[in-house]
């Protein structure tokens, strides 16, 4: 029901006083694509959304929607919709009036407003809640109203600022799945900001990793996970986090690069005859479907994802094995990926 648009950001920069929030970020989001912008708090991802929405003006750079430069357009002229982390529902209006607000402001005819509010309410299961006020809704319901208020306008671009972060963990997975289905169904262009790498991995067509206001890597979830461009990206994506250590810890020749190994690529054996590197168990965390085992070796700690049945007491001797082709290398000084022949 939306007309998708192409969104292009070119060398966007923005500072607050002497503090740079964005330092020249370029990014393009294709028709109907969902790009997740991830990074730790303070990396500039919310600023990025404000600049795209037109709530703030960039110090430098260009925002283009469908090829048209929108830098000087007000939010209302840009035809973008935004879902806020706080939902920002108007507390003095019923759900119906919240949903109708963008259309009422645009001066749409009353009949059209009513029809589109009903349509969106049906799509999101909000019909029974239309005459309630936001104060009387649960967190999940508020989140859907916020989404509905964005949908009702059929905008060219959807901006979502941490839309799931105020939901409890159980609800979050359900809503995450709903969001993915909704995006597939609408075929609209989404920019999805989150600090949760798992959300980004599951939802996004492509992921943009921001760090200190600069783009660290842009790629598909598979690329980001499988071939991280920097040590920062490698550490940011994946649970439990990647093992980033000096090469000697894994028995590799010393060099100017640190090595990183995903926990699923590290095998732990209790069989002393198995061969491999010697280590001691430090911590065992059963997760149900698997067990996370932290081992100590050469003063470093490494995490491995093992079978659910793995059992060992702390201090127990184990052997480590891995496929050297699964090892990533990152220059210790720059943090950049080093490709090995």
């Amino acid at each position: 029901m939306s007309v998708a648009a192409r969104l292009e950001l070119e060398s966007l920069a923005k500072s607050y006083g002497a503090v740079p929030a964005l330092r020249g970020v370029s990014l393009s989001v294709g028709d109907g694509e969902l790009v997740a912008v991830v990074g730790p708090s303070g990396c500039g991802k919310s600023t990025l959304l404000s600049l795209v929405a037109g709530l703030e003006a960039p110090d430098a750079g260009v925002v283009r929607i469908d090829g048209r430069v929108v830098n000087d357009l007000s939010p209302r002229e840009r035809d973008v919709a935004m879902v806020f982390q706080s939902y920002a529902l108007y507390p003095h209006m019923t759900v119906r009036r919240n949903l109708a607000f963008p259309l009422a402001v645009a001066g749409r005819p009353r009949r059209e407003i009513a029809a589109r509010v009903e349509e969106v309410a049906a799509l999101l299961g909000l019909a029974p809640l239309l005459d309630r006020r936001p104060g009387a809704l649960s967190g999940g319901q508020r989140q859907r109203v916020a989404l509905g208020r964005a949908l009702v306008r059929r905008p060219k671009v959807f901006l979502l600022d941490e839309p799931l972060s105020n939901l409890d963990a159980a609800l979050r997975l359900g809503v995450r799945a709903e969001l993915k289905k909704l995006h597939e169904r609408l075929g609209a262009t989404f920019v999805y900001v989150t600090h949760d790498q798992a959300e980004a991995m599951t939802l996004a067509d492509r992921i943009a990793v921001l760090r200190d206001g600069a783009l660290e890597q842009l790629g598909t979830p598979r690329e980001i996970y499988g071939a991280p461009a920097t040590a920062f990206v490698a550490r940011f994506v994946g649970t439990p986090p990647v093992n980033l250590v000096a090469p000697e810890v894994l028995g590799l020749p010393a060099g100017p690069a640190d090595v990183a190994l995903r926990p699923e690529d590290l095998r732990v054996s209790r069989d002393a005859a198995a061969g491999g590197l010697e280590a001691q168990v430090w911590l065992v965390e059963p997760m149900g479907s698997e067990t996370w085992v932290t081992v100590e070796r050469a003063g470093a700690r490494l995490v491995a994802r093992c079978d659910a049945g793995f059992e060992a007491a702390p201090g127990a001797p184990v052997r480590l094995a891995f496929d050297p082709r699964r090892v990533h290398r990152f220059d210790r000084a720059t943090g950049r990926r080093v490709e090995t022949g």
Binding site: V80, A81, Q85, S86, Y90, V105, G135
Partner: protein, 283 residues
């Protein structure tokens, strides 16, 4: 148990508020002039006398007019001031402190200041318009408006701060969301800010109209109720009847009427406040 816990506070209130109130009500039903040694029960005759007392009716009209115009102007001026303070970027703290200066001055000092500026012979206004046009305090209609002006000058900052607190309680994301939803600045103000500011506006109205209806000091210092009794408010008339004329029964009756006026205003605003405020969930 609940009643027992509230009892001490209730007893204290009864002692300091209800007791004097009932004593005043009882006094208002008597003719009592201590200097003449007169003291006897007269029923409602003090009230009947007030109903035909031109000076009392004038004081009632002065008080109502003063309250309506002063409070109205204070809100009209305080709202833009509060919005400006709310959106001021640099120097907001200093600006806020500067705005409060008139309110920090004791009312008597502020009123005396203006009384000197407006003094008919030597004041600043008299010097600017030597032909007598600047002698506002000697002219009945103008004198009451001079008192209103001083009250507005002094109290607008306080109202602005009340409204500023109300504005700061409105989450910033609401205005941002409304702008992304396509609303102009004016529409954001009308559809989001103003409705959500309603509780703060009503609270300011409540505080200020209660205060204004009991006005005494500004008028007493500025005009002493003159010229004639043309600027005399109820509380000043009550004070003079009680303590200058020594007519305790009549003075008590005026006080009680003033009190009832204050109660009526208070109940009106409180019931408006009590209506489901915008942010609240329905029952």
């Amino acid at each position: 148990m609940g009643a027992a816990l509230v009892a001490p506070a209730g007893a204290a209130l009864a002692l300091v508020a209800l007791g004097p109130l009932l004593a005043t009500a009882w006094l208002s039903l008597r003719h009592r002039v201590p200097v003449l040694g007169e003291d006897h029960f007269v029923g409602l005759s003090n009230y009947r006398a007030l109903a035909h007392d031109a000076r009392f009716l004038g004081a009632l009209a002065n008080t109502a007019y003063f309250t309506a115009v002063a409070v109205g102007l204070e809100l009209l001026l305080a709202l833009p001031l509060a919005l400006a303070l709310h959106h001021a970027g640099r120097g907001r703290g200093a600006l806020r402190a500067a705005v409060l200066v008139p309110w920090i001055l004791p009312t008597v000092v502020a009123a005396k200041l203006w009384a000197l500026l407006l003094q008919p012979d030597l004041g600043l206004l008299a010097r600017l318009w030597p032909d007598g046009a600047g002698a506002v305090l000697t002219r009945p209609r103008l004198a009451l408006h001079a008192a209103i002006f001083v009250d507005v000058w002094k109290t607008t900052p306080f109202v602005a701060l009340l409204l500023l607190a109300g504005l700061q309680a409105i989450p910033e994301d609401l205005a941002r969301a409304a702008r992304v939803d396509g609303a102009s600045a004016l529409r954001v103000f009308r559809s989001i800010t103003l409705p959500l500011l309603r509780p703060a506006l009503l609270l300011a109205l409540l505080f200020r109209s209660l205060d204004a209806f009991r006005v005494f000091d500004v008028v007493f210092v500025l005009t002493e109720g003159g010229p004639g009794h043309t600027t005399e408010p109820l509380s000043l008339y009550a004070y003079r009847t009680l303590l200058r004329a020594g007519s305790f029964g009549l003075g008590a009756a005026i006080s009680l009427v003033t009190f009832l006026g204050v109660v009526a205003i208070g109940l009106a605003w409180l019931s408006a406040l009590g209506e489901r405020s915008p942010g609240e969930a329905p029952p």
